[in-house]
Symmetry: D2
Subunit: 381 residues, 4 copies
């Protein structure tokens, strides 16, 4: 694989590399790790790369790699939000498969355009909505899809974080670092784009339900911030379910507390990212059940396919879940290279369509928040 972005000191690039390394089947061999050629070069050294395959610009990389007989099988794009589109476009059009960080693009129009580009190509395009890589999220999805919850009535998804609260009182602590609060780079939203979209994606992955209408209130609590650091949304789903999605970066002391509750007519489920190896299943008149990763009673989707790597109660975490996105995308890429057909049921990674839905969510929350109208229609997905 190759990588664009993610040089020295970049957190998410390091996560992508650990996720790719984990199973010993993907090797980083090329990259353009920074817009600063010297930093890119030094990062390449850190990763033991052939200097010839460490590039100064992503365009050079796409061009030169495309010309190599041993060219990379895919590229990981971990640059800032506003560059996702052009880098992805460049590599897809140069014939490469792509694994791209989220949100997929800087705006909704780019998302639609990128989808067209991907559709016209026959390349694999995977988006790292990594929380769907957790085995117990996959088990939750299976339960809903198999009807074990009955009809879905209500969904509550939360993503509270507190890391950006400090500056509220102007004490210089808790800055949302660098570019996340800059609309030119981050796009029209900070909190909804950075984490709200993960909560939205989790709902869609588990339940398959799309939002039809939304009523949002986004807030920038920290004086001087132009983009939201908190957002509360009432949502209506196709088929009549109702829901709440709220995400926040000013929820003091919450760490990365993404969680979801799905309430159905037969049963309900509850999953917490900070305790990811468990899935709580609740019933009207029967004891609650605690499903735990790695047990034989967990379905194929969660326990097989390599999505779980250790026995029960040998905890797996964030990196392993992230690696599951790579694992599934790598299967699709390998099948494409080998000319194999897709397996029945398809592959299990977020696609360009999920990317469009995510960017539509961001757009909808921002528009609703600015509106006096109670409900606004969700953009076409």
């Amino acid at each position: 694989m190759g990588m664009v972005g993610g040089g020295r000191g970049a957190f998410i690039g390091q996560v992508h590399r650990m996720a790719a390394n984990l199973d010993g089947k993907i090797e980083l061999v090329a990259g353009c790790f920074s817009s600063d050629p010297e930093k890119s070069r030094l990062s390449g050294q850190d990763f033991f790369l052939d200097p010839e395959r460490v590039y100064s610009t992503y365009k050079e990389m796409a061009e030169k790699e495309a010309a190599r007989p041993d060219k990379i099988d895919f590229v990981s794009i971990v640059v800032q939000n506003h560059l996702h589109f052009e880098v992805a476009k460049t590599f897809i059009e140069a014939g490469f498969n792509v694994i791209c960080d989220k949100p997929m693009t800087h705006c909704y129009e780019q998302a639609l355009e990128l989808r067209e580009i991907v559709r016209k190509s026959d390349r694999v395009f995977a988006l790292t909505h990594n929380y769907t890589g957790y085995p117990m999220v996959k088990e939750a999805r299976r339960m809903v899809r198999d009807g074990e919850l009955g009809r879905i009535l209500k969904i509550v998804a939360e993503y509270p974080q507190g890391y950006a609260v400090g500056d509220v009182e102007g004490d210089g602590q808790g800055k949302i670092n660098n570019w996340r609060s800059d609309p030119k780079i981050a796009g029209i939203s900070n909190c909804m784009g950075d984490i709200g979209t993960h909560a939205h994606n989790l709902i869609r992955y588990i339940t398959g339900l799309e939002i039809t209408e939304i009523c949002s209130e986004l807030t920038a609590f920290i004086p001087g911030r132009t983009l939201d650091d908190d957002g509360n949304n009432l949502v209506r789903f196709e088929g009549g379910a109702k829901g709440i999605i709220h995400a926040s970066q000013i929820s003091n002391g919450d760490e990365n507390a993404l969680n979801i509750r799905v309430y159905g007519t037969k049963a309900s489920i509850e999953w917490h990212q900070e305790d990811p190896n468990e899935l709580i299943v609740k019933y009207a008149n029967a004891p609650r059940k605690i499903y735990r990763r790695g047990n034989d009673y967990i379905s194929e989707a969660a326990s097989g396919h390599g999505y779980t790597r250790t026995p029960f109660a040998h905890p797996e975490g964030f990196i392993e879940a992230f690696a599951n996105i790579y694992l599934a995308a790598a299967r699709a890429i390998a099948d494409q290279i080998d000319g194999n057909p897709a397996p029945e049921g398809g592959y299990d990674f977020p696609t360009v369509d999920d990317g469009v839905a995510g960017v539509a969510f961001i757009k909808a929350t921002v528009e609703s928040s600015a509106s006096d109208q109670k409900w606004i229609k969700f953009p076409a997905v």
Copy 2:
């Protein structure tokens, strides 16, 4: 004390009696336990009462008790919602102190009128918003009032229950029993009136913040129901805090999961009714602290005043919290009888003003839910 309502088989009447009994200082001596005189009589036998003081109607009770030299010190009103107003009015006007179940009245207009009646009298009027009786809720209030959380930014209060979900699919299970779904008795709302108002009261008690605007969506998920069994509300508070209040009776498998999170600029707190002896305090960059009832490090308000009856980790629960409302109201009544002034800082029980606020909340959610306007103003409290 005397009691109106709460005869054989009535759950909440039994709770009131246990709460009153607990500390051995309040004795039930009179009552009108049912609109059916025979049932009232038999209930009086159950409670070992003098048959002379078991009445057929609440009016008879008010009149005859008022004429006795050993008349009751106060009456507990545990009738159905739509009768609260007239029973309370009758007893206050007959010179009795009143402890009344919530919601205070059937509608907002009655609430305002009852407040006038109470204000004109010098009687004690206490409302059993019982969840504020929990010691750790009192500790939470103290923390907020003492500024330990800094400025409040966001509040999330939830009250999910699942007991009324069964009928969703017409299987005859899970009925909301009897009168709760009947507007003539329950009022304009079921779920907001029965439990949503507890969540609202909890916010007010802990933070002292009033809602200024609200955006609600109430739903009757069960076909044939006329009143809501679920409600989601976005709220704005005075001073700029934002919040979410949601309550539900169709949250399958949730039992009585009232909880609140209050996020401030310095710290945040989290409390769960199902684990009431703990209060979680979270910080941006310090270990979380778990405050536990009964320890010396807990403030006077929580550990003293008799609001806690057992040492740490000898769990206290629902009845003890309920008894704390009785305890505080009984103090006010005793002071009134003895001609003592109120203590500095006043008494710690929900008042007629809290009752007005609760009924205003119900009114606001129903009106907002029916409106296309995004935000509606909260009624005067």
Copy 3:
């Protein structure tokens, strides 16, 4: 009822009174609350008693009450350990039923003698091993007795507290108050007698298994203490199960963390006194189940018989469990007074036999701890 001991400021007397009051069926009418007649008299005033029935000595009380036509139905004995025997003996021989605090007697020989006295009388004798009053402990017992766990292999019961740790370093904090560390009053053990015996009783109540051999190490960690403040025991049960019982008063920061795990060939259970409304059931290859008090799926024993007073998730605690001992004993006393036969299956409260077993446990741990022999036989129960 009458009470011996438990005057002003005595914690356990207050608990007994709250437990007796809770259901509104037991009334305190007489007592000798202190060996100091004046303190006894003042305590009687606190409890609104007829001064004539507040006595200066327990002997006077037994004598005078026995002579009254409206004499008490039973007496609660809440004096210090070393007086249990003589007070109980006096009242039983005067024809009264007795509810007595634990440990039953000061030594094993007294326990055997008291058993003889109780057996020869036809009086009800109940011991307040209160932790068996919790509904979910009763459910645990039912599960084991119904064979849902299969054959019992291993039992681990713990009772760690930390309240007595402070003095370890001579800082004057954390004293074990007053008489508990005085062998003349407390008996041959402090920690095993005060709390270890609760853990032992819990095992016997749930599983019905008796210890056959024991290997103990008791320690007095605080310099100057003559009695143990910590004890670890390996135990062997009849039928081949093995176990561990440890209790401690120097487990810094633990509050009242009594808990038990029972491992069987089919399933295992786990219960924690600090979270008493839940019972965790674990299986080799099926999801864990969380049984919660008050649900319809809980057996009669736990949900019926009045042993649970509030619906699910309206937490019940220590006082309610304590009240269940009173409730069951009161049934036996009422049946005796009314001349009714005992119900099928008997009554559900700790008896004089449980008292003997408890004192035998204390004796065994102390003897084993002083011995070089690995295993010592458990005394006859």
Copy 4:
């Protein structure tokens, strides 16, 4: 690196490879993956190795690798217990650094001999007592070493598993697979050797305390088993602390529930392997604190040195902890290769001395269990 053992289908070999891969700095380049040369060859293909460096015997591997200019920097030994000694000896004597699975050797005598061999060489020898790799275990160690707990009084370490319970009733389920119950391969103990030794190692790592005397009862609950599947131990530590170590493979429904509680005169700590990102700190009269991995308030040892790879609340698990053993050993190996001195404070991985202590623990429990003597002396460590 090279590997001996761990071919296709071997769980622990796969864990070692994932742990080695994670940080992208260690590459598997040679191996002898099975005693079956064909299986070794096929495993080498799975791992994309040069066929020339896939060997048929470990002796061949040691010899040929030693002769290569690009020889491996170290070998990972993941063969069955009884072969650890001879493989480790071979590679050390051939000049290689070694990372070896635990228990270190088949018996105590081998352990002493291997220690001599390692001491005489200047090779790095690391043992994968992997649970000490968890960041919060490192934080616990730092707290104890910094005196934050005061003097240690009591230690309770548990390691209950339930996977081997099924066969108790002869139903053919729950077998302890293959060689673990075979004394020729596993050694003198199954349960103490496989998991008890982890609990023992955890105590030593965190507290630095050595056992002086032990009193054990090991049991083989499953009929026909010759080696223990459960063990309970009372222990005495140097300096006067007391403790309990119990481990079990027949604790039905427990998964991998290793946990430790360390009680000191100032504070106590509690850590659970199934919730590894948290460390609970308890005090006599202050709120409990929950320390969570990845926060700035966590010490260098836990948050720096690369021992934590993701921000707070992006859960890390078993593989990451395992990788920390590799990370620390790799540092020592790199320093040795580069001729750098060891850092102040040394390296943070289990050494040959820890291996001797572990094998001594196994020996002591087996001997004590067979003895009528209450306390036996712990072997020299």
